[in-house]
């Protein structure tokens, strides 16, 4: 029930996203009809293509057409590949999702303990280390970190595989269940493929992790410091509770609330950062698909991509709200 009500509040933002993406793609420079007619086409041929694509009709009519297609689950057809956008997004989405989630997990696994350690000993070497890592992380753009990692670990040291997609040329994709190669290869008990997929994932995931480390480590440190200095931690100390219990049960469970909020924000940053990282690592995800379509003035995939991201973002925020409610009893009551 709560879930449904929370979902309903997301509807206006989804409607907004539909309108904005429609208008934005129409406002983009470049004429898709001219692009697809080719450099040698006559004006007449271009007009004919424009008519075929429905681009000669008024914007409101085009918009109604677009809505009608959406209602039928039709995101249109890509002009450059000739494939339905929905099918292409669905095959490419798991690649992006696997990469982003692994990057996020890697980032949390490093940032949260680092933030806690820094908060426990402010001013100590671990605190300075945390500050250096977070400052470096935010100051490096992802495509640069990505290229740097490729240069060092593939070109110089030769311990990483070539940055050419999800699997090297010698492996074949595991049977499709979830679309996540790591999970599918394990389900198929195919350890060599698991290893190959993991090897391909490490560098791009690390790139995303380095980027998202900073906000997470900082917020963990700050909220942990606040929690450790709070009155209820003082009460816990005065009650003789063990240090472990004070730090992890009393302080950390309270400090984790802002971390969860930040996690949601970081995930949406990562969705954006993905576009460039996928380009650098030739990752067959939705980000690189959208960039190629954008360059070709191919409306349908761009619209489909933005809409997918918006839906993901809404679902993500819903998930964050639910997790928040699990941790903080005060939120449950308000909802």
């Amino acid at each position: 029930m709560l879930l449904l009500r929370r979902l309903a509040t997301a509807l206006p933002s989804i409607a907004g996203v539909i309108i904005v993406t429609f208008l934005l793609t129409r406002a983009l420079p470049g004429d898709p009809a001219a692009y697809f007619a080719g450099p040698a086409a006559t004006t007449q041929a271009i007009d004919e293509i424009r008519h075929q694509l429905g681009l000669d009709r008024s914007l409101p009519v085009q918009f109604l057409d677009y809505l009608g297609q959406l209602a039928r689950g039709d995101l249109g057809t890509s002009l450059s590949t000739g494939q339905p956008v929905l099918a292409e997004l669905l095959t490419r989405l798991p690649a992006s999702a696997e990469l982003t989630l692994l990057g996020l997990v890697l980032s949390v696994v490093i940032a949260v303990p680092l933030g806690i350690a820094a908060a426990m000993r402010p001013g100590a070497p671990v605190d300075h280390f945390c500050r250096v890592v977070t400052t470096a992380g935010v100051s490096l753009p992802t495509f640069f970190t990505g290229l740097l990692l490729v240069y060092v670990f593939y070109y110089l040291m030769g311990i990483a595989p070539a940055p050419l997609g999800r699997l090297d040329v010698f492996s074949s994709a595991p049977p499709h269940w979830t679309g996540f190669y790591l999970i599918d290869s394990l389900l198929a008990r195919d350890l060599p493929t698991f290893g190959a997929a993991l090897a391909q994932l490490v560098l791009p995931a690390a790139t995303l992790a380095i980027f998202s480390l900073a906000p997470l480590a900082r917020i963990t440190r700050a909220s942990m410091l606040a929690a450790l200095g709070s009155e209820f931690v003082r009460t816990a100390r005065a009650s003789g509770l063990s240090r472990r219990r004070i730090v992890y049960v009393y302080a950390f469970r309270n400090a984790v609330l802002p971390v969860i909020t930040t996690l949601g924000m970081v995930f949406s940053f990562l969705l954006g950062a993905n576009v460039l990282v996928e380009k650098v690592f030739a990752w067959p995800g939705v980000g690189s698909y959208a960039v190629e379509a954008l360059i070709a003035s191919d409306y349908a995939p761009v619209q489909g991509f933005v809409l997918t991201m918006a839906l993901l973002y809404v679902l993500l925020n819903l998930g964050i709200d639910l997790v928040y409610g699990l941790v903080d009893p005060r939120v449950r009551l308000e909802a």
Binding site: S230, E231, F232, R234, T235, A236, R237, A238, S239, G240, L241, S242, R245, V249, Y250, R253, N254, V327, D328, P329, R330, L333
Partner: protein, 327 residues
């Protein structure tokens, strides 16, 4: 410890000095204070804000913050010097032998943990019960502090309870392991006046039941007089006068105590009759603090006060005063 003769105090604070290192200098928050508390006794530490009452309480509990340093003295509790006790020993004593109730009960409780579990955490820590029995013991404790419907309340979070209820929970936590000494640090600040009386009565009653010593920290001399057998008056990190309550009110010997009594409602028939105390606490960061820190506000000040070291004069029957020219 239970076999100690009555003449040995339960708690003896001797010559205790505490400093805080801050960016703007060293704050001499406590300067060679001393007092004694016997088993079952009730004593109040009274003084205005910043006089060092809470610092004294935190020093006894060993929960001063990182910037604090104990520069002299001992805190002897049940034969053990708490100043030099290690963390492990302190962890055993806190919550079991020594307990504290804070002001602002709502923020002093963990906001996202049911109150029953917070009590159970303490019971489990000090090994009095098994994990299976702890929740029931926590409910029993809530019943002892007269929380209605304790079984349901044990599952409540602090934000679902009133301030008075939260303070009852704090008391239940403090008394869970039947401590020898309870420190109540402004336990009724922030509660409305009728709740104040109920909470204080509850503390007094439970303390008497368990023959537990109580150290009440308050700025309210009237409250101290009502509930405590002895009163220690603090001013700017000094204990200026210690006396049995009746003696303190009948014959205050320190000029500050006299002013404080004159400034307490109840002594005067109307508001106009209430006296205020001129001046303010000295800046405790000053390097050239006079031996008596009341000199700047004192009407009886003489050159001796600014030159001779402060002495604690015994005036008989537990009455001590730190003044060269007592009233």
């Amino acid at each position: 410890m239970n076999t100690a003769p009555a003449s040995v105090p339960l708690l003896a604070v001797e010559d205790l000095s505490v400093e805080f290192r801050t960016r703007s200098g060293t704050v001499r928050a406590l300067d060679r204070i001393g007092f004694e508390l016997h088993r079952g006794e009730t004593m109040a530490l009274v003084g205005e804000s910043g006089s060092g009452k809470s610092v004294t309480a935190y020093a006894i509990m060993g929960i001063l913050d990182e910037a604090a340093r104990t520069t002299s003295g001992r805190i002897v509790f049940g034969g053990l010097d708490l100043v030099h006790a290690d963390d492990k020993a302190m962890g055993e004593i806190r919550g079991r032998e020594l307990a504290i109730i804070f002001q602002n009960p709502r923020t002093a409780l963990n906001p996202i943990r049911p109150v029953g579990r917070q009590i159970a955490d303490i019971l489990l820590r000090h090994g009095n019960v098994t994990a299976a029995l702890a929740p029931q013991h926590a409910i029993d404790m809530l019943a002892r502090v007269r929380i209605p419907d304790p079984k349901r309340r044990a599952l409540s979070y602090p934000f679902e309870l009133s301030g008075g209820m939260c303070q009852r929970v704090m008391i239940a936590m403090a008394l869970a392991c039947e401590p020898q000494l309870l420190i109540a640090d402004e336990p009724t600040t922030g509660l409305d006046i009728t709740t104040q009386a109920v909470i204080m009565d509850l503390i007094a009653e439970l303390a008497a039941e368990q023959n537990m010593a109580t150290l009440l920290i308050t700025h309210d001399l009237g409250l101290a007089a009502e509930y405590c057998g002895h009163i220690a008056v603090m001013h700017a990190g000094h204990i200026v006068e210690t006396a049995p309550t009746a003696a303190l009110f009948a014959t205050p010997r320190h000029p500050y105590t006299a002013k404080l009594i004159a400034a307490t409602p109840g002594g005067a028939p109307d508001l106009a009759g209430l006296a205020s105390i001129p001046g303010a606490l000295p800046d405790l960061r000053r390097a050239d603090l006079p031996p008596c820190r009341y000199t700047a506000r004192c009407e009886r000040v003489a050159t001796d006060c600014e030159e001779l070291p402060l002495r604690r004069l015994a005036l008989g029957a537990g009455h001590h005063v730190a003044c060269h020219f007592p009233l």
